[in-house]
Amino acid sequence: MSSPDVPPSLFVVGASHQTTPIELREQLALTPEKLAQLHDAASRLAGLRELAVVNTCNRVEFYGVATDAAAVAALEQEFCRLSGFDPATFATIRRMADGSDVIRHLVAVASGLESQMLGENEIFGQVKSAYEGAQQRRSVGPVLNRVFQKAFQGAKHVRTQTAITVGQVSVANVAVELAGTIFGDLSETRVLLLGAGDIGEKTAKAFQSRGAGSLTVASRTLARALELATEFGAVALPFEQVSQRLHEYDILVCSTAAPHAVITHAAVAAALRRRPSHPLFFIDLALPRDVEPEVATLENAFVYNLDDLARIAERNRAAREAEVARARTLVGERAEAIWRQVAPQAGGRLEAR
């Protein structure tokens, strides 16, 4: 129920990976149909003036402007009804904030500071999509429009002025980034996936998603190579031909289960002689290693094993974490500046709940 004497309040309520174990998180995310139903229901809630829903696999958060706490409670109940979530359980995992804390939280979320993988880029796009969806449904008004638009600017500022997004933090992405430092543009590179290990497949997928020129798959069993090649839209190569045709590839992702090295110093030296000014990059993800350690002594061969990549990922993660305090300071400064602009319109406090 809205009262003309009570100033509306900016609020956020929701749950994320920080408070919710994965088995509960699986039930949190709303399907597009359920999200539409929630918006319909919310539009009928008296006291709720504006609403935007950030709905990802790791968080469901409702950003809104309300004139009383009952409207927020009704919104929560509607969400639980639609998602089939037990309201009592939701009460234990949900977090709520109002006032300037909402803006601080939103800027931090859009910056990647609240993400499971600190500094990841995807969340920015997800929050933007959430806002655009709310705009299309006309569920945002003057307060949330300003809050979201300013929050995006703030998040961009935080991401560019700190190193929280610098360096990759997963083994597959570190490998792709490394290939960039060797070859620059990956669109001309030829990648050979050797073996069918899980991490090798992930790395090959990462190369494909970053636009590697071509992908070839070789496995001890040709049938498995063909199967993987079909899955990746790649070409299969008989395992026995790998050594002779090594010079045709730029990047080798090795993840066989062989008990000994399958890429020898002699084979690589011969391959490099046939491509003297083109380097060869070996990503050895196998244990025991697929590439003989002596290969690294060849001038134009760059060999990185699982430990090397994990070490780089860990260093990048640590570097990002070292920036968190500075990033949070920037978030706080931006949030305060935004709050000063919206407080006259949404500066009320929700009743204690």
């Binding site: 190193a163 610098v166 360096g167 490394l178 960039g180 430092t181 060797i182 070859f183 620059g184 003297p276 000014s277 083109h278 380097p279 690294a296 001038e299 134009n300 760059f302 990185y304 090397d308 070490r311 780089i312 260093r315 990048n316 570097a319």
Partner: protein, 294 residues
Amino acid sequence: MREGREVDSMVLRMDPSTDRFWFWLAGACYFAGLVLGTAAVLRRRPHSRGLMNVIVVVGYVLHTYALYLRGVEVRGCPIGNPFEIFQFTAWSATSLYLVVGTTFRISLLGYFTSMLSAALTLLSLAMPAWDATHRVNIFGGNAWIEFHAALALFSYGVFGLLSLTSILFLLRHFSLKNKQLDGTFAFLPSIVDLDQIGYRLLITGVALLATSLLVGASWWVRNPGAVNPFKIAVTVSIWLAYATALGLRLRGRVQGKRLAKVCIALFAAALLSLSLITPRRPATGPASVPSSQP
């Protein structure tokens, strides 16, 4: 003829009518680029490429103006003494950076170009003896000889940029081999890009110097006594050394780290050779014997 020290004292009085005033300003710009890049390296953060480009462009404009003033004064391309040769080489390297650096968006090349140009301009400014004498109209109005000399020095600018690219290549190679990829190394270009740019610069430099030598030779065969044979031998040796490096690179015999080291060593040798082939005689008047330098 003027003493460099006298001119520099004029700079202190901020006399913009002297070319050395503008040379100092250009040197200061390049030095500012050097400071900007060094500060970024020490902070392990990328420097602003836009700001670096602005600094280099401003330095380049001032440098061009200074060379223009000197050119008007000596009635020709200002490459008549060690000071002018160093200035012209720095200007050539910066000219090329403005094409290569912005086209290929090579990180850190602006920083290294600032370093090279600051070193060449400020070192030559700090050596008044190098600019103690001006030889006026050293080409005797012969445009072909002037073209030959300017082209030769421009090729030295190309080789200067090649040596910088080679340094970047060696740093990138070191970082990849030693798995040191964070900090300053994170801002280095890819090793394949550096190799390609170095290769193109090597071809360009060899072609420019060859053209210069052909132009010079066509004049020399008609006036064999006018040019010091030692000067010819040194210049041809420099060209031969670079051409050999290029030939070996084409055949895949010398590439990568070895080629980068060769290019750095050759540029050092080329710079040293300038002191051997630059005339030290005082000015002989407006119609002094044309030079085929460098």
